[in-house]
């Protein structure tokens, strides 16, 4: 039988990292995600698997450590919460520009500025539309349970190495802090340096006589070459959009209305469906699991079946823009959300649905 544990989301992701054979974690404390670094330090991963765990002097240093580790072909990650993720944007755009694989966890809290330490989903634009400078995209995964926090670690590294692209797990304070039952996977053995060399022939593993030197850089002073590179990146994002869309549907078969929600909001909407259906309102849920790539095609299909969609987010309404783009004005799309670290109640969501559509 698989091992079951009661864990916080932040702990689950840390344990998953050790078990997935991650080579390095570089982080800096910030609420509500400090448990990640704390758990890793407590667990002595250097003894369990040889994993390197380092508390950096800043979020900026931490993400640049990730850049280097990724450039050297290793499985590396960092984690932070909103203000810290803003600081990491420099490194993230370099990582995207150098086409390096890594995982970045954002346990989102309310903003702007120092904001609040309570959960929010107000970093959607930052995560999905780039975040730093230049034309680039992250692959963004949105877990809605502690189990998904665990499971998405391996998934994110699979995707990161498949596309040589940074992957962000966009969580929030609620999922980071809450405990649920987690099925723990097998311990994977970390790759040896020789295996890394073979898996990542592009990485700075040390130039041997058989190959040209490897250079990790995002710089090209020749605009023509830089444009070609930009086109290559865009082609990669198209490929990701074609292959990697993930979502979950609940009670959409007979639905007249659809909640579109990810992460914590999706959990709340599940309850709202129960409440609404008890009142005779036929509503379902589309939960994007990947925020980039976004399940636009499926939303387009659903827009031909339903009368309206309610984008439920703990923000002023960010994902709603992608929902609207997806359904191309076929049906009305409305937003409901709370801000400032307040989590909407399932009842509030139903009220909003009634108010906007019924």
């Amino acid at each position: 039988m698989k091992e079951l544990r009661l864990m916080k989301g932040n702990e689950a992701i840390s344990e998953a990292a050790i078990r997935a054979g991650v080579d390095g974690y570089f982080g800096y404390p910030i609420t509500p995600q400090s448990e990640v670094l704390e758990y890793l330090m407590l667990e002595k991963p250097e003894e369990r698997t040889g994993m390197v765990v380092l508390q950096a002097e800043s979020e900026i240093a931490a993400i640049n450590m990730v850049y280097a580790g990724a450039g050297a072909g290793k499985m590396v990650m960092t984690s932070s919460s909103s203000p810290g993720i803003s600081l990491k944007q420099e490194g993230i755009t370099y990582i995207a520009g150098a086409e390096l694989p890594c995982m970045i966890l954002n346990v989102v809290r309310g903003g702007p500025g120092l904001g609040t330490i309570q959960p929010a989903q107000s970093d959607y634009f930052q995560a999905v539309k780039g975040g730093g400078h230049g034309d680039y995209k992250l692959i963004v995964l949105a877990p809605a349970s502690v189990q998904e926090m665990y499971d998405f670690v391996e998934l994110s590294f699979d995707l990161a190495f498949k596309y040589r692209n940074p992957v962000m797990i966009l969580s929030d304070g609620a999922i980071g802090q809450m405990m649920e039952k987690v099925e723990i996977g097998e311990q994977k053995v970390r790759l040896t340096d020789a295996q890394v060399k073979e898996k990542c022939p592009w990485a700075t593993t040390g130039k041997d006589a058989n190959r040209e030197r490897n250079i990790i850089t995002s710089l090209d002073l020749d605009s023509n070459k830089q444009e070609l590179f930009n086109q290559k990146l865009q082609a990669k994002y198209k490929e990701v959009e074609a292959n990697e869309v993930r979502y979950e549907e609940m009670e959409t078969e007979d639905a007249e209305y659809i909640f579109v929600a990810y992460g914590t909001s999706a959990r709340i909407c599940q309850k709202s469906i129960e409440l609404a259906r008890a009142k005779g309102i036929k509503v379902g849920l589309l939960r994007p699991i990947t925020l980039f790539p976004f399940p636009s095609k499926r939303l387009m299909e659903l827009s031909k079946q339903v009368k309206g969609m309610l984008s439920v987010e703990m923000s002023a309404g960010q994902m709603i823009e992608d929902v609207k783009l997806a359904v191309e004005c076929n049906i009305p799309v409305e937003h409901f959300g709370r801000m400032g670290g307040i989590i909407p109640s399932p009842g509030e969501v139903v009220e909003a649905l009634e108010q906007k559509f019924l």
Binding site: I117, A174, M179, K271, P346
Partner: protein, 184 residues
């Protein structure tokens, strides 16, 4: 079966760990569980509360504003959570320090004098287990053997010698819990 519970009191009363033991007991029984605490500065020295959901099915929202059961251990929590018990639901409270007692007539109210009982036991640290015992008497959602297994999983091994004391406290809680009749 789905049981949605709020446990609320002061930091230091063992509110969060009581929730954890309930969750572990649920896991032992093969159920789904969610433990959602309040976190941040409000935890430091002030009130602490945790939403615990135990269910045979996948759990939807971890954040709810209506509860099947409220376990209330101080006045602030009484003021905040009495109104959030579902009609027909259950409110269990320790009268110690409570000035304004619950008054709703559409819910079932129970009193568990855990602080008083704990002061008479060999260690007052069993306070939260007495409360748990009171809850389990009213809502026997976990088998006792599963609660003990949950305790074992929840407690670090160096405290496992405390399990018999905790078990005694749970039993004590089931003895001292009493129904409160709200008169007109």
């Amino acid at each position: 079966m789905t049981e949605e519970i709020i446990i609320a009191g002061f930091g230091g009363q063992g509110v969060l760990s009581m929730g954890k033991i309930m969750c572990y007991s649920g896991i032992v029984q093969g159920q789904e569980v969610t433990w959602m605490p309040s976190y941040g500065p409000e935890m430091r020295g002030g009130t602490a509360n945790v939403t615990v959901i135990i269910s045979d099915d996948r759990i939807s929202s971890p954040i709810i504003n209506e509860f099947d059961t409220a376990i209330i251990l101080n006045q602030q929590s009484m003021d905040k959570f009495e109104s959030m018990v579902k009609p027909g639901g259950t409110l269990i409270y320790d009268p110690n320090g409570i000035v304004n007692h619950p008054e709703r007539k559409d819910i079932n109210i129970y009193r568990v004098s855990a602080a008083e009982a704990a002061s008479k036991m060999e260690t007052s640290k069993t306070f939260n287990m007495i409360v748990l015992g009171g809850f389990l008497k009213i809502k026997p959602i976990f088998k006792m053997e599963n609660v003990i297994a949950g305790l074992k999983k929840s407690l670090p091994e160096r405290y496992h010698h405390m399990i018999p004391v905790n078990e005694k406290a749970i039993t004590r809680g089931s003895e001292v819990v009493e129904e409160v009749q709200i008169l007109n």
